[in-house]
Structure formats: C-alpha cells, structure tokens
C-alpha cells in the first residue's frame, strides 16, 4: 500500500514516513501542495496524509482540486486546528478523515487502515486465500496453521498480492503500490522479493499459490 504524505513540517513528515514504512507501507513525502498535486497526477496512491497549512497550495485547496479532478484517493487531513468549524471545513472539502495534531501515531495507523479497508469495500481485518491468512493488524501470516515470518517488504508485497488475489498484478502496479517514488524500474528487485515470498509461502506445500504470468506479471490464487 503506497501512501503520500504532504506535510511541510520536515520532522513530522519524517516520523510519519518512518512509522508507516515500518508498518510495511510505501511512503512518499513532499513538502508543499504544488509538488503533492504533481505527484498525485503522475502516480497512483492508496491513501494521502495531508497537512492543512502548506506553502504554495494549502491543504483545503488541494483537497478540493483533487476531488474536482475526480481523484478518489482516501485523504486524512492533519492539522493543528481542532475547532469544529475547521473539521467541518476539512471534511466538506472532500477529506475522508480528520486528525488534529498532536495525534497518537497508533491512531493515525488505525485510521489509515480504516481508509484502505473502505477503499476495498471490506471491513475485515484479515485477508484470506485458501489456507493462507494475513492479519492486517498484527501482521501475522499463517499458512496451514504454520506461522510464517516475513520481512516488512515481503509482508507489503504479499498483502498487495492477496488484496488482488485471483487477478494478475503487473510489475508496474507492484512498484506503484509496494515501493515508493525512489524505486528504480530497471532493477529486478520485484522478482527477487517474489522469490523470497515463494520460498516462504509455497515451499513445502504441494499447492503453489504464487504464479508467474509470462510477459504480464504475477498472480496469487488457490
């Protein structure tokens, strides 16, 4: 899941990025509204964390612009303003959620999960394909009652594959949702991680779940 953080207070942006990355999200950070708008028009994100007071284009304006343009990416607004009228203004401009600063990081994580869940149209906190299950809260991955230990990146990749179980996901899709803006398209990092995952998920099972679709991408199915 790839998240764009638009926040001009460098240190706040940094810890949000770090915390989200450690949860397995791919995170891009920009410091002003204009750059944020540019990234959003050229990349696909699963969620946006948007500060209100931003240089060049402020958060409210950016939010309205995105919604007018038809961009439906879930948005959480972050701001030091916590008056009811500010919240109403923020939500009415098209934001999905509103979190006043200072916030508890766990709450931000939970709210991000809610938005991603809503985006999928699902409410469960567990992804399940056949005997493979992934807990979105505890990050526990279990196949046939056996707990599988994954790195953060492997977890993020598996989560993305499982969310799209039964459908082919291209390398570009993977790079856009699992890796951040600094991903180098010319490396074979994705193939390497797919291999890691195969070793952990499929080895020792007759039923191989991760398939390569030649010339297209990968597929996770029963």
């Amino acid at each position: 899941m790839r998240i764009l953080v638009i926040e001009d207070e460098v240190k706040i942006a940094q810890f949000i990025k770090r915390g989200l990355k450690e949860e397995g999200y791919a995170v891009d950070v920009v410091n002003d509204g204009e750059e944020g708008h540019f990234l959003l028009s050229s990349n696909e994100y699963d969620a946006i964390i948007l500060d209100l007071m931003l240089p060049k284009v402020d958060g409210l304006t950016l939010c309205r612009t995105l919604r007018t343009e038809g961009n439906q990416t879930p948005i959480i607004m972050l701001t030091a303003k916590d008056a009811v009228k500010d919240k109403v203004k923020g939500l009415d401009s098209g934001a999905d959620d509103y979190l006043p600063k200072p916030f508890a990081f766990e709450e931000l994580l939970a709210r991000v999960r809610v938005l991603l869940r809503k985006k999928d149209g699902r409410v469960q906190t567990q992804l399940k394909v056949d005997d493979l299950s992934l807990d979105l809260l505890t990050h526990k991955v279990i196949r046939a009652d056996r707990e599988i230990d994954l790195t953060v990146k492997e977890y993020a990749l598996l989560e993305y594959l499982m969310r799209n179980a039964g459908n082919i996901v291209t390398r570009t899709m993977i790079s856009e949702h699992v890796w951040d803006i600094n991903f180098d398209t010319f490396t074979n990092v994705i193939d390497v991680y797919i291999n890691y995952l195969r070793n952990k998920i499929d080895s020792g099972f007759d039923n191989k779940m991760i398939h390569t679709v030649r010339g297209k991408g990968y597929l996770l199915k029963k």
Binding site: D8, E9, K11, I12, F15, I16, R18, G19, E22, M53, L54, P55, K56, V57, D58, A80, K81, K101, P102, F103, A104, F105, E106
Partner: protein, 494 residues
C-alpha cells in the same frame, strides 16, 4: 425594580416639582386676588360714600334755599338740624333704587352717632362707639361686620366716613357692601386650588408616565438586546431607534463599543489559536517521534538521534514559552529595565559578532557602518535582544549571497539604527502588521512566520520610549528602522 426605574423616578420628581410650583402659584394667586378684590370693594365704597355726601349736600343746599325762602343769608348748619334730618331721610328714600347703590347699604348718622336714615330694613341702631370714636376725630373707618338685613345676619364690608362742616362733624355716611359674593369668589378659587391643582398634578403625572414610557421604550428594547450579547455573541448589534436623540446616540456609542470589543476578542482568539498552533507543532513532533521510536527495539544510534531531535523540540517549546512570558511581562509592564549608559557602537559590534556564525552559514554578509560616539541610556540586554531579533529575522529571509547593512546615526535626540536587507521583501500592504504576534505574511505558509521575535522587539523599543518601523527596500528587501531616545524615558519602571 419599578420603584427604582428611571420612569418612576422621573415621574415622581416631575409630580413633586409641579405640585410645589402649583402650590406656590395658587397661594400667590389667592392672596393677590383676595387683596385686589377687597381693595376694589374699598375703593367703590369710598367713592360711593363721597358721591352720597356730595349728593346729600347738593340736595340740602337746594332745600335750604326753599326753606330760607330765597334768602341766601339765612344760615343753617346741618348739625342737629331737623330740616337736614328730613332732607337726609328723603334723599335716602329717593335714591334707594339708584343703580349705583344696588347691593350697597347706605346709612346716615347724625353728629352724635344716632341713626337718621338707612336704605334697607336695618334695625336703627346707634353708631358703634369704636367707629364713632374714629369718625369724631374726622377719620374714615373700614371694618367687616355682621349686619341684620331683613332680619338676616350677613357679613358686610362697612365704610364709615364723617362729613365735616366748618370743621365740625355735621353727619356721618356709612356704606356697606355684602361680602357674600366676594367670599364666594374666593371660596371658588380656594376650591379650585385645593382640588384642581392636585388633580392637575396627578393627571400630569399619569401623562408623564405615558410620555416617559414612550421615550424609554427604545431603552427597554436595547436592554433586551444587550442581555443577549455575550463574549461568544459579539456580532449582535442594537437596532437604531431612529429617534435622533440621546438614546440613539447611546445605541450608536454602545454599538461602537461592541465593535471594539469584538475586534479585541477576535484578535485575542486569533492570538490563542496562533499560540496553540505554535505549541502544537513541536508537541506533535515530540509525540510522534517518541511513539514511532518506542514501537520496537532500536539501536543505540537510533535512540540517540531520536533524543537529539526531541531535545531540539523541547528547546523550541521552551523558546516559545519564554517569548510568550517576555511579551506578557511587557504587556503587564512588570519588566524592569536596567537602564545604564550604553555605547551603541560597541553593542552593535558585539551583536554582529555573535550572529556572524549564522550569517556565514547562509553566506550572507553583514556590514556595520558605525556612527561617531553614540551613547544612550538604556537596558543593555534588552537592546541587544532587540537588535539580535531584527538581525536574525533579516538573515532568515535573505537568500545566500545577500547583504545586510546596519547604519547607526544620530537624529536630534534619538539614535537611529537602520537594518537594510536584500531579502525576499514583503508586500507594502503587509508591513504594518509584521509586528503583530505570530503574524504570517502568507497565510498558508508556515515557513514565513515571524513568530514573536518582532513583537518582542517592538515591546522593547516601546518600553524605552522608542519605536520600530519597517518599509520596503526597493527593488528588493526590507528596511527596519529602530529609533531610540538618547535619554531614555523608561516607561517600565526604574
């Protein structure tokens, strides 16, 4: 409430003053009228008596001729003259219906006070001795007394006058006018005064209540509205009564006051919002960084860097709180200035040296054009802080390669410090506000905020009796002018 209302008080005073005025007016009127009426009566009686005397005398002269049979030498006195008594009786009998004598009783007495004739059915009585006493001496006499007329006693004004002949009392004329009518007039007047005046006062009072109520109705409406005005509801305004009087002017003044209060509350609220925003940013960083760091076991290096970053934020918070306190002390005028002679050349040189590190980091050159010896009386630490704040601000907003120059000069009895930068500059329209607390040139940009530095600088300048102003340095940059009196009038204590 009712008894203390303006309405009640006005009406009560109004009635009291009116009653008093009417009472005095009534008393004077009554007194003057009764005096005038009795004087008039007396004048009439006097002139009637004179007329009667002349008429009787003429009558007598004519009759005397007849009695004397044309002999003018025959000499009669009227005194004790049987003929005169007859004449007088006849005169009275003839003249009784004279229009002039209607309502007037005429009595004639002889020189001894014995009755000769009377015009009405009055008991023939001897002239009262005390009257006769006066008359005998040749003096007129007035008195009020009861007389039986037609066997009915009533009060009369009685005038008695002697008629002299050859310096001897020859006879006495007494005329009397009934006082009944006069008394009726006065009684009517008394009745009017005693009954109509209080009635008038009461009626005036009632209409006064009505009028005052009419006048004060806008006031009651104002009170209603004012009741609804609270600190949260300062947008409410009184409706102008449109009466163009003191009440309208009161409403106008009140509205103006509410507007001022509203502005002051709004700026206060804005200030609170700004403070909370300013405090929340470092708090958010602290909280977020700590939470993220504590989510798992970290390496010592990671902990160290997190702690360093936290320390920075704590320092930032401490700085904001310190600045707020400084401003609060200036506002409350509890800052004591340690005023002493101060060499401005030396001080600015020190400040420039201290801030040089920042300037070199940003590749900004600072040039100081010193003045001839320029000493002022001021608080060294505060002035240092003032100049430091302005310089720090200038460096912050001057891009690399820029230049800042400081010019110190003396103008009459004030020292002027011009700090000129080639920074990003500010729109002319924003310049008057940059000394406001937490003022931001660009509302959406959190990076261009002056925080409290400029506000504190201004407070310091003002505490020394000086001022600080900013103007655009065309084509680019800003000029800050700090002007300090050489002999500082320290408004903040010592």
């Amino acid at each position: 409430m009712l008894l203390q209302s303006i309405r009640f008080k006005i009406v009560l005073w109004h009635m009291f003053i009116l009653s008093l005025a009417l009472f005095v007016f009534g008393m004077v009127l009554y007194h003057n009228l009764s005096l005038k009426i009795s004087n008039d009566t007396d004048d009439i009686l006097r002139s009637r008596a004179k007329g009667i005397e002349q008429s009787i005398n003429t009558y007598w002269e004519a009759e005397r001729m007849n009695i004397a049979d044309g002999d003018s030498k025959v000499h009669f006195t009227k005194e004790d003259n049987i003929n005169f008594i007859k004449i007088a009786k006849r005169w009275v009998g003839e003249k009784i219906n004279d229009p002039d004598l209607i309502n007037i009783i005429v009595r004639i007495f002889d020189a001894h006070g014995s009755p000769i004739a009377s015009s009405r059915n009055i008991p023939m009585e001897h002239l009262n001795s005390h009257i006769f006493y006066d008359v005998k001496k040749g003096a007129d006499h007035f008195e009020n007394a009861y007389i039986y007329v037609n066997e009915k006693s009533s009060l009369f004004r009685i005038f008695t006058t002697p008629v002299m002949e050859y310096k001897r009392l020859s006879y006495v004329v007494q005329v009397a006018s009934p006082l009944v009518q006069l008394h009726t007039v006065l009684r009517n007047l008394r009745f009017s005064l005693l009954f109509l005046l209080p009635l008038t006062a009461v009626l005036t009072g009632l209409s006064g209540i009505f009028l005052v109520q009419l006048t004060l109705r806008p006031v009651n409406q104002m009170i209603e509205t004012i009741h609804q005005i609270t600190a949260e509801n300062l947008k409410l305004r009184l409706t102008m009564p449109g009466t163009k009087d003191e009440i309208e002017s009161l409403a106008k003044t009140f509205n103006e006051m509410i507007t001022r209060l509203d502005e002051s509350f709004t700026s206060q609220r804005q200030f609170m919002e700004d403070i909370s925003h300013e405090l929340k940013t470092p708090l958010s960083v602290l909280k977020g960084e700590l939470e993220v760091t504590l989510k798992r076991i970290r390496s010592p290096q990671e902990y160290e860097s997190a702690l360093h970053s936290n320390l920075e934020e704590v320092n930032r918070l401490a700085g904001i709180v310190e600045n707020l306190l400084t401003l609060a002390r200036f506002d409350a005028k509890t800052t004591t200035l340690q005023a002493a002679p101060l060499d401005l050349n030396l001080l600015i040189k020190d400040v420039v040296e201290a801030i040089q590190v920042l300037a070199i980091q940003k590749e900004v050159t600072i040039q100081f054009n010193r003045a001839h010896t320029l000493d002022i009386i001021a608080d060294k630490n505060q002035i240092k802080r003032l100049i430091l704040n302005i310089l720090d601000n200038a460096i912050k907003y001057t891009p690399s390669g820029g230049k800042i120059s400081i010019d110190l000069s003396q103008q009459k009895d004030s020292a002027n410090i011009d700090i000129v930068d080639t920074g990003i500059g500010m729109p002319e329209s924003e310049l008057p506000y940059i000394f406001d607390r937490f003022y931001r040139v660009d509302k959406s940009r959190s990076s261009i905020g002056f925080g409290l530095g400029l506000s504190i600088s201004q407070s310091i300048a003002m505490a020394h009796g000086g001022k600080i102003s900013a103007r655009a340095n065309l084509p680019k940059g800003t000029v800050f002018t700090i002007s300090l009196p050489i002999k500082s009038k320290t408004t903040n204590g010592s």
